[in-house]
Structures are given as structure tokens and as C-alpha cells.
Symmetry: C2
Subunit: 344 residues, 2 copies
Amino acid sequence: MPHSRDGSGRSASVKDVAQLAGVSLGTVSNVLNRPERVSADTRTRVEKAMADLGFVRNESARQLRAGRSRTIGYVMLDATNPFFTDVAQGMEHVAEDRDLSLFLCNSDNRATREAAHLAHLQEQRVQGILVTPVDPDSPALADLASRGTPLVIVDRTRPGAAFCTVSVDDVLGGRLAVEHLVDRGHRRVAFVGGPDSLGQVRERLEGARQAWREAGLPDADLVVVPTVALSVAEGRAAGERLAGLPARRRPTAVFCANDLVALGLLQQATSAGVRVPDELAIVGFDDIDFAAAAAVPLTSVRQPRAELGRTAARLLLAEADDPLHAHEQVVFEPELVARRSTLG
Amino acid sequence: MPHSRDGSGRSASVKDVAQLAGVSLGTVSNVLNRPERVSADTRTRVEKAMADLGFVRNESARQLRAGRSRTIGYVMLDATNPFFTDVAQGMEHVAEDRDLSLFLCNSDNRATREAAHLAHLQEQRVQGILVTPVDPDSPALADLASRGTPLVIVDRTRPGAAFCTVSVDDVLGGRLAVEHLVDRGHRRVAFVGGPDSLGQVRERLEGARQAWREAGLPDADLVVVPTVALSVAEGRAAGERLAGLPARRRPTAVFCANDLVALGLLQQATSAGVRVPDELAIVGFDDIDFAAAAAVPLTSVRQPRAELGRTAARLLLAEADDPLHAHEQVVFEPELVARRSTLG
DNA sequence: GTCATCGATTGAAAGGTTTCAATGCGATGG
DNA sequence: CCATCGCATTGAAACCTTTCAATCGATGAC
């Protein structure tokens, strides 16, 4: 029924404000952008007119004129994984300090969705784009960067690329996890994670293998249990598969590619009556808040989540401010946080 | 400093494309927007020119002309709470179907941050704004709606307001939780949650009280344990406070205002040697994925998270398409999902 | 009394896209 | 051969803001 966007049709523009205040366009703009240049009297008159009309700056027009926007975007791999929301939180703080908005998009692990978001951000002429890509080697990313849009890859690395990357040493993380398990006396261990297309998964497994070999243990005793995704549900399913193994071949410990998988596995194990860690030790990866909060607190490989986000955002803005800026490949070191799920 | 991003100065515009392809501006625009009106020959020529120049549409200019954008925004209360990311996921699907982008912002429970995000979205002339507000009665929201920006409140209701709201009956949710506990024989129960400024907390408590009274139980046996936030850490702290109570006054069951609090409490209880549910039953609220995945799977009041998001987004777009649209107040019914944390 | 100066204000141009009425042209029908 | 029609293309206007050189009026110096 009555919808009345207030009687007036369109929303008020600087022109309307100028007219009502009896000044020129330029003056209104000055009130907005260089208030010190305007006499106190005119300024209050203009401000009153703005308030009366409910004037809201049109950011599109502003951007068009300025050529750049007040926004940066982050395309995340999985918005429902707390790891990524924590990373985003770190970025948000940097953006807030610089008075920019952070536009969050979720690719949900799909390359097509990722591409759509990247295109849209580019069309918006954002100051720069942060992305945790489905595939860091995709030529689409290189194209993007070569077109001049500042770009930072988060949680992946790509040596020699034409953009900055901020990541965590996943190979080292994998080593830490398995070294810990070996130290605790485990001699039959499973790695649970997938899909293989995720670099994070490949490298964590690689690290696990290195540590395993260096401990002089036979390759066959490091079992790989692949999953189709890094989710709680997949962790639960993997738990059931493990439970199905003959006792001789069943591992005494599991290293999961991330905490979601570990939590699912933990739940399945406990509900199947397997005692953690006595009968089965579990190590996760990421150290999300839910890891410590699990009923059997989870040993996990901690990544500096917020720091990752902050650093990525800072590098992005550095590049946006200075296009001659040299690209950096920052790599953080992960750290093992031992808790009850491996400590008995 | 010369700041040549690439040799070419600015990025290519329709004008450049037109020139290279030897056609007029209008034709390029037609290729972009009404390709069927352009002869096959010219079309391919124009498309080649675009590819050669790496042409990217300037969304600001487009928006400026069109008066509206291809974007909707969601200002969420707490991006690190999986409940809200699941709601956002539901919205994302609707947006994707309509070929819109969803701009996610996090107010992080702060009114100032919320205001900043709302202002920025308004300046961007988004098609509409979804928001789970810090305070649904804030006049700022009413102002926003009266200026003509389509607005939908998510997870809160506000009867008689000049905008749509989509919520879940929190009072009913509270009743379900407590009725369940009373059915299971509990006669001393605690409610854990806060701050009181959150309507969700107030109403869930209200429902709990109603159910308690209707069961004919004395008010004093429903203990309220306030928290300063709905987080895992606060749940853990509350657990410690409960553990400190003299045995006679200690509740046999706890109803937590959301699952994060419940998970924290569960962890504290288990690590303190309190057996769940035998010595302490726990009910959460939201039924996030981590609830079922907890090592003692959590009984929780399920909200239709994705459905909430989808409905909100649909209402928003309905209003954006038809400003005469009548505002609706949709209320979903929650549902109790009983799991081991109360079932022994 | 004139001129330079200074601060406040103005007006016009620019930025990239879309839209729409107008144009041009070849073909069709009379 | 003329009128008409349809189709592909064109050109100019509009969207709203910002910027910058130009203008105006007044003040102070000489």
C-alpha cells in the first residue's frame, strides 16, 4: 500500500542540496570534502539542507570520478569454516583502520563461483582483491594481476608469481603433527583428508611423509584415508572407514588435514566407544576455537589466523598505494598445540 | 612517480573498444547488453577488441546510470558464529539465482561498526540491506527504511515496523528446551546466557520461565547465570561458576542461550570430570553443525538457518522489485533435536 | 582612489555507461 | 521508380560527484 519513498521520487543529490541551501554545487562538495574552506555560516546552512533532504552521497558517482573505490574484497574458500572467518576478522581490522570496507564473498570451493566473484569485484574497481583460491595456479589469477588489480593470495603460495602471497608452511605443519605422534610412540598412523586437488592437503601429507621417513618407519604404516571434502561430516565418515579395518592394520593415531575433519572423526570415535586418546590419538590442523572446546580437547597445528589476514590486507594496501611495490611471499611457521586428544 | 599500471595508463573503456573495433559507443553497449540486436559480424569484431584490450565493465558507471546496483548486503552480528554464516549461505543461494552479489559485513556486535556498514551500503545504493541488528529498535533502521532502501531484519522481529522481518520464535524455543528438561525429570535447571541487551537472550529466557512455571516448579529453582557474550569462552567461564556452587544448589541441567556457550560449558564440565548427561544435562540453541559433532552430541533447539536466510533474501528482493509490497513478519518455529547430552 | 591580495564561492568539464530517438541503408511491394 | 519497412547502427543526453581554474567582493596597502 502506502510505500511513499517519502513523496519525492529519487533520492536527493548534491544538486538538490545546493538548490535548497541557495549555493552552488561546488560549495556543497566542499562542505563534504574540504569543510575548512567553507565559511561557518554557509556550512551550517548546507548541513541543514542535507539533513532535511536526507541526502546520502552516491558512492558510484564518487568512485567514477575518483577512479578507485573505498572497498577491498576477500573471496574465501569456505565461509562456514571458522578458520576463514578468523582470517577475515584480521583483514577487517586493517580495513577498519584505513577506513575501507571489506567485501566478503564465498566461493564455496567452486571455481565458477570464485570466477564470478572475482569478475564482480573487478567491475566494482575495488582497491584490491584478497583470495584463497580453489587453484592458485589458475591463469585467471595471473590475468587479474596483470590487468593491474592489486591481488594477494591467502593461505597458498606460488613462488615467482606476479603478486604477493601470504601462507603458512603446510609441509612443516605436517611434519610437526607426525613428529609429535611418533614421539608419543605411535607406529601406525593414518592421514585423513582430501580432496587431493587442495594444495593444503597435498602439502600437509607431504610433511607427514617426510617426518615418517626420517623416523625410519615403513611407508606402508602411514595409511592415507582420502575424503572428498574437509568437513565434519567427512571426518565422521572417515572414522567409520577406519573402524572397519582389521585390528592389526588399524592405526593408533590419526592426523587430520583440518580441525573440521578431526572433530567429525573424534565424534564418531567417541560415540563408537573408542577412547581418545588411549585407543586412538587425534591431531587436527588450524586450531580453530572449537578445537580447544571439543569435549576431548584437540591437539592441533596452530596457524596464526588473524595475523595471516592482517598481513595479507597490509600487503594488499601497500601495493594499492604503490604499484611499483615489490611482491612478497610471506610464509608463517605453524606451531603444534598439544592437548588431551594426544596426551592421554 | 609514474604509476603506469601496465604501460597503458587507465584501464580500457567502451570508448577505447569502440574505436578499436571501428564502431560507435552505442554498438559496444549493445554487444554487452542486447547482443541479439547486433549483427554477427560486428559482434565478433567488438568482442575481439574487448579481449585485446582486456576490457572490464565499470560497474560504478553502470550503477550511476541505472540508479541501482547488482548487489545486496548482509550486516551480520557475529561472523565467527556458524549460525550466521549458515544464514548467509541461504541468502547467497537466492542472490546467485538472481545473478546478484551478496556483500557480507560483520558488525561484530558493535553498534558503531554496524552503523558504518549500513552507511556504506546505502552510499553504494545496494538493492537492499539485510541486517541482524545489535538493536532492532534503533531509530537508525527506521530512518534507513523510510529513505526508501529496502530493508529486512533477520533473526529479530519488530511488530508494526515499516520493514519485513524474518525470525524464529525464540520464546517457543526456550519453552521447548525447558519442557524437554522437565520431561527428563530435572527439577533444578540453570539458564546460561547474556548480555541481556540481546533480544534473543531475553526471549529464550522468557520461554524457559513460562515452561518452568507451567510445570508448577518454583521460580527459585530456575537459576540464571549471566554471561557478557555468547561465545565458547564465556560458556567455559560459566561452567566454572556453576561448578563452584554448593552441591545442593547446583543444577542438574543447563539450558544455554546458544550452542557456542553450550559447547564451552560442555568442555569445561567434561574436563572437570562432570559426566554429561548423567551428572549434568545440557541443551544448546541454534543446532549448528558443531553441536552434533561434539564428542557428547549436543541436544539443541534447531533453527532453520538456511531457510531463514533464503526467506529474508526473497522478501528483500520482492520489496526491491515492488516498492508497494506489503511488509511481512515471518516467524519460523524452532524444533528440539534431542541428542546424547540430555538422553543419558 | 587605485591596485594587489586574499578568502569564499562558482561554473564547467570530466569520468564510463546506458538509453532512446534518429539516421542510414538495403530490400520489398506497389 | 517511389514509398515503405525493417534492421543495424549512431549520437547525444543523462546519471552524480569532484576538481580546478575563474570570478567576485571585500580588505588592506600605497
